[in-house]
Symmetry: C2
Subunit: 190 residues, 2 copies
C-alpha cells in the first residue's frame, strides 16, 4: 500500500537497525482516517473469503482490526495479554515471548468467542519474528476454526516471521513490508 | 441510547450486584456495527464542541474511541497502563487504582500527543468509581489542554464516579446509565 509506505517514510522513526516507531499514526496516536483506508485495503485483499470474524490481540491491534471490520462487516475478537479478572476460566491460551518488549505472557481468549464454524482473519499492527501471530494461530487451531490468513499493517521482513509462516502455507498480507532499515534507510519489498 | 439499553438487557450478564459482563459486544468480542452506532451517537452529543482529539485508555476503550473518531473525524490518543513506575520525562503520567481489577497502575501518554491547544473528548467503555477517568482528566490538565467532556458507553451510576465528576462541572455523557443491578435486575436512569 503505497500511501502507507509514504507515511512510514514521512512520519516513522527508525531507531538502530530494527526498531520502527510509528506511534504518531498507528499506535498511541491513531490517525483514524488513515487507518480506515488501511482497513478498506485489508477488506479488498480478503474479499470473497467469507470471513466471519477478525481476531487480534490487545492493545495496538484493536484499532486496525476495527478499521478492517467496519468494511468487512464482521465482529472483532481480541485476545488479552495475561489473565485478568474479566476473563472466565473457559479460555484458550497460548504462551507468547515478545522480543520487542523482552517479556513473556499468556495470550488468552474466551472459548465462547472463537468457534469451530468460524472463518478467521487475523489482523495486527506489526509482524516481526511472528511470535504474537503464532500465538493467535495456535488459539484459532485450538478452537478448530478455519484460518483464512493474516493481514498486517507493517511487516519487518528482515526479522523472518512472515516468510516462515508463508512457507508453511499461510496467506500473510502486509500493507507495508520492510526488507531493511540498515543505517536508518527503509527499503520496502514489492 | 435505547438500543444500548436493550442490548445490555439482552446480552449483558449481571454477577452479584455490581459486575456487568458485556464481553459479547463491547470488549473481547466487539460488535463493530453496533459500536459504530454508539460512536455516531457520541459524535451527535458533542457536535459543535470543535473537538480536536479523542483520548482514551487501553485496551477496551480503544474500540469505542475509534468508532466515535470515525464520525468526528479526529485522531484517537490512548494512554497505556504501565505497571512499573519507571517512566521517562517525555510523558504525562497519573496513578490509577482499579477496583475492578484490584490493582494500581500508572497511566502513561507521550507529551507529544496531548497539546495545550487541543480540545479533548475523553471516551471510555465503562465508568464506575471513575478512577481511570480521573487519571485521564489529570493528564489532560497536565498538558494544559481543554477538556470538553467525557463520553462513556456504560456508566454504573450506583458506584458514584460519574455524579462526582458532574458535580465538579464536567460534562459526562453515558450512553447507558445504570442506577441499580440489585438482584440481577438492571434499572436505567433516564
Amino acid at each position: 500500500m503505497i500511501a502507507l509506505e509514504e507515511k512510514i517514510l514521512k512520519e516513522g522513526k527508525v531507531i538502530g537497525s530494527d526498531v520502527l516507531k510509528v506511534g504518531g499514526f498507528l499506535n498511541q496516536r491513531i490517525d483514524v482516517e488513515f487507518l480506515m483506508e488501511m482497513g478498506k485495503e485489508i477488506a479488498r485483499l480478503f474479499e470473497g473469503e467469507k470471513i466471519t470474524k477478525i481476531f487480534t490481540i490487545e492493545s495496538s491491534g484493536i484499532a486496525i482490526a476495527m478499521a478492517a471490520a467496519v468494511y468487512m462487516k464482521v465482529p472483532v475478537v481480541f485476545a488479552k495479554k495475561n489473565k485478568s479478572a474479566n476473563v472466565g476460566d473457559d479460555v484458550y491460551t497460548s504462551r507468547v515471548h515478545s522480543f520487542t518488549h523482552g517479556n513473556t505472557y499468556d495470550a488468552v481468549v474466551s472459548k465462547e468467542y472463537l468457534k469451530s464454524g468460524d472463518r478467521i482473519l487475523i489482523v495486527d499492527d506489526f509482524l516481526a519474528r511472528g511470535n504474537a501471530l503464532k500465538g493467535l494461530i495456535d488459539m484459532v487451531n485450538q478452537a478448530g476454526a478455519h484460518l483464512t490468513g493474516a493481514a498486517i499493517a507493517i511487516e519487518k521482513g528482515f526479522q523472518g516471521g512472515g516468510d516462515e509462516l508463508r512457507k508453511k502455507g499461510l496467506r500473510v498480507e502486509s500493507l507495508a513490508l520492510i526488507d531493511s532499515m540498515n543505517g536508518g534507510k527503509i527499503i520496502f519489498r514489492h
